[in-house]
Symmetry: C2
Subunit: 465 residues, 2 copies
């Protein structure tokens, strides 16, 4: 087994740092992240999902071309081993074209999301799976994005998907799941919901049949830039005033979900696709209301689009109330996810939780109040020799009772050892000199209130259990 | 937020696979891996360690040169974004030398182990840490090794290290920690221990002062190739017969740890370094025996070397009895780990658990008997419409009691739904027709013995809790 060998480089010591967009986590940050993950995981499992894990890097061909041009640009590629330039023929090498040469020198790339790996997994293992197949996956992904608040180059995705069923009961389940997780985390949220077929129905009202994408992209910005901004953008993309007038009732779409649905039913009366979308949305909203949400508000958002060519039915987006953080969750229904890998007609639906943004929301709302850190429960002072062995024997008993205990490693000055206990916020310190050893006890000091008492090992176990 | 868009490539569907040396994990494999990790983690925390996490990729400069030539070759490098070839000047590009060009087109590389990132972390965050600093780290690392049994390109390391103390009580603690973990996992092991200073003392007996590495590398193979093989290799490396004769008593080193120590004390009587190593080893063995190991055997192995320039004191290696797997754990004491990053005089000691090999050992010893999978506790049959809603309302109550329950998504034939329950090994199936709905109960079938009974929701909660 290869093990680390550190050569002394004789170079000036490097000032250490980490790549932009990445982070170290200390144990407090880990405890907070795990707090969120545990709530998500427990609910995933309560809702019948089981975990899978996929490799950090996939074959280059598996990922490239699945996320549009932007995705290809932002995927991290892994350089081939050995003399990788040998595989680049002379003519191509001459061009010195980074984009063209990349596939010749890189055969692997880091996960960009969990959905494409999931699709690859389903197809690769289809003979081992029972359908409908439900899985959750909580793993990091990597993107060469420009880092900013809430946007990192390495971040976690928490996904749950079902493939192999077109049942709208899954769509209902996911609104309940979002509500349950954010209720457990105590984050007030709005769950925005739309349906891709409704957007298709709207697009049928345009004169220009080839402007669907431009139309949806502009419409999706209504929250941010208002009606004027959206109309300007549509005109700039050569969507006619007549088209805009045809769809303009949605700009006045306010009020309850029922009122919005009534408006759409009327506007899309001539669209079979649009009517289907409205029926699907109605079912999801009605069943959700019958069960009842605990803390989340569900809102029909006619302009919600997210991934365009990706979703084919329900579309979700979750935003936290009162915190400007963008979306903290999203998802939707898709058909033919796995077709690209050779398995047709696999309908699926999935949702995602944005762990890092949820973390930031909880910090700003001061919701990390009762996080337990994995720090020691008790520190034993090291007086050296026989006393240290006496302490270590007690420590072993405590550890067998799952009490986190340690012996200060060196027989340093008492003050130094107490400072160490304080810095690590260890609640109790134990001391044993010859007196305590004779009585088979320890002097236990409560570091918060200063109280001291003499306790046997069994009494310490009682205290700290 | 960027979201997945799947373009239909119109190319022939790709047969999906994953890069060699990587693995997908299904939920059973995850449950087994987590079983091991939980035992390691719990004990790390009982022994006073707190977790940190570092990014998956570090700066290229942080990792390169730290693992010898082999390491540089086996580290996975990440291609820079954008027009990365632009940074390669014309003259260098002309050479088409992969090795020389790599640092120009790659500024980041995947973690190769957890020790160098740990050293970088300690130096980078030194003002926030209290020393001695104890941390555990359980994360994947990546190496472009040739895959074989027990060797993967992506695998987990489970490390615990202490820096900032030279106390031998840490060394004692780590033997106890190894014993505790393998006792909890029920794996019979031998903990092999040596001391680098003893090896230095032995090397003083050689005539050739520049053959230390060759000497140690050959000696380390004694278990595998025997005395003849080791002597041949030493002679081939130009270590004289006289030198070999000087150290030959260690070839006869058998018997108890005490007998081996007596032999070494005599052989190294003129080596100050060697005597120091013997005293350190004696202390660790004696205190360990006083506390007592629960199931592991500890064995002084004079030939144990592992990382050569890396360790400066105690050296550990753990092997499973009766299973040919190589080492399943290892570690040791090192000085000046952080000097390379600018922080001198940081003595440390750390150990590692080889998760993937431990997994294989446990499989071969059939030790994964009581693993609980995260599968649903109960499946509710979907008869559509009102019955489905009635079931979903019950399911929500069950989930609030942390019972894993789900509604079969489609109103498929009953046989299909029962097959699904069997394939997923779900223990109970619930059904509700109009009769059950009137009585406010469900028909519950035990899928293992076929028994059926009618239960209210509260009674189901009672049953499954």
């Amino acid at each position: 087994m290869i093990f680390a060998k550190i050569r002394n480089n004789n170079t000036m010591a490097q000032k250490p740092g980490i790549p932009k967009g990445t982070r170290d986590f200390n144990s407090e940050q880990i405890a907070k992240r795990n707090y969120i993950i545990q709530h998500i995981k427990r609910n995933f499992e309560n809702y019948g999902f089981q975990p899978i894990e996929t490799p950090s890097f996939e074959n280059y061909q598996t990922l490239m071309g699945k996320y549009g041009e932007e995705g290809d640009r932002l995927i991290f590629k892994i350089l081939n081993s050995g003399d990788y330039l040998r595989k680049v023929d002379a003519a191509l090498y001459e061009e010195k074209d980074s984009k063209k040469i990349t596939p010749k020198i890189s055969e692997k790339a880091l996960r960009y999301d969990l959905t494409v790996p999931f699709a690859r997994y389903v197809v690769q293992h289809q003979n081992e799976l029972s359908f409908p197949f439900k899985r959750y996956q909580i793993q990091p992904v990597w993107r060469a994005d420009r880092p900013q608040k809430g946007r990192f180059r390495e971040f976690y995705q928490c996904d749950a998907d079902v493939v192999g069923s077109q049942s709208l009961w899954q769509d209902v389940s996911f609104t309940l799941l979002y509500d349950q997780v954010f209720t457990d985390l105590e984050i007030p949220v709005h769950i925005k919901i739309n349906n891709r077929k409704i957007l298709s129905g709207l697009a049928e009202l345009l004169e220009e049949k080839d402007k669907f994408t431009e139309f949806i992209v502009a419409l999706d910005k209504l929250d941010k830039i208002g009606k004027e901004g959206v109309v300007s953008e549509m005109l700039a993309k050569n969507i006619s005033e007549k088209s805009i007038q045809n769809i303009s009732p949605i700009f006045e779409s306010k009020g309850s979900n029922e009122e919005k649905i009534a408006l759409l039913k009327n506007l899309l009366q001539n669209s079979k696709e649009g009517q289907k979308g409205i029926e699907e949305l109605k079912f999801v909203l009605q069943q959700t209301n019958k069960i009842g949400l605990q803390s989340a508000q569900i809102e029909f958002d006619i302009t919600l689009a997210r991934g365009l060519n990706y979703y084919t039915g329900s579309i979700y987006e979750v935003v936290a109330d009162n915190v400007a953080m963008g979306s903290i969750g999203g998802g939707g229904r898709y058909d033919d996810l796995t077709g690209i890998f050779g398995l047709k007609n696999m309908s699926g639906i999935g949702i995602s939780f944005g762990l890092d943004r949820i973390y930031l929301v909880m910090e700003s709302l001061d919701l990390f109040k009762d996080i337990t850190l994995a720090k020691p429960d008790i520190l034993f002072v090291n007086f050296g020799g026989g006393e240290a062995m006496y302490s270590l024997q007690a420590i072993q008993k405590l550890r067998k009772n799952n009490i986190k205990a340690e012996l200060f490693p060196d027989a340093s000055k008492l003050k130094k050892q107490m400072n160490y206990a304080n810095k690590r916020q260890i609640a109790y310190v134990a001391m044993a000199g010859s007196q305590e050893m004779t009585e088979n006890v320890f002097s236990i000091k409560n570091m918060q209130n200063g109280e001291q008492q003499k306790l046997s090992v069994d009494e310490i176990i009682e205290l700290l259990h």
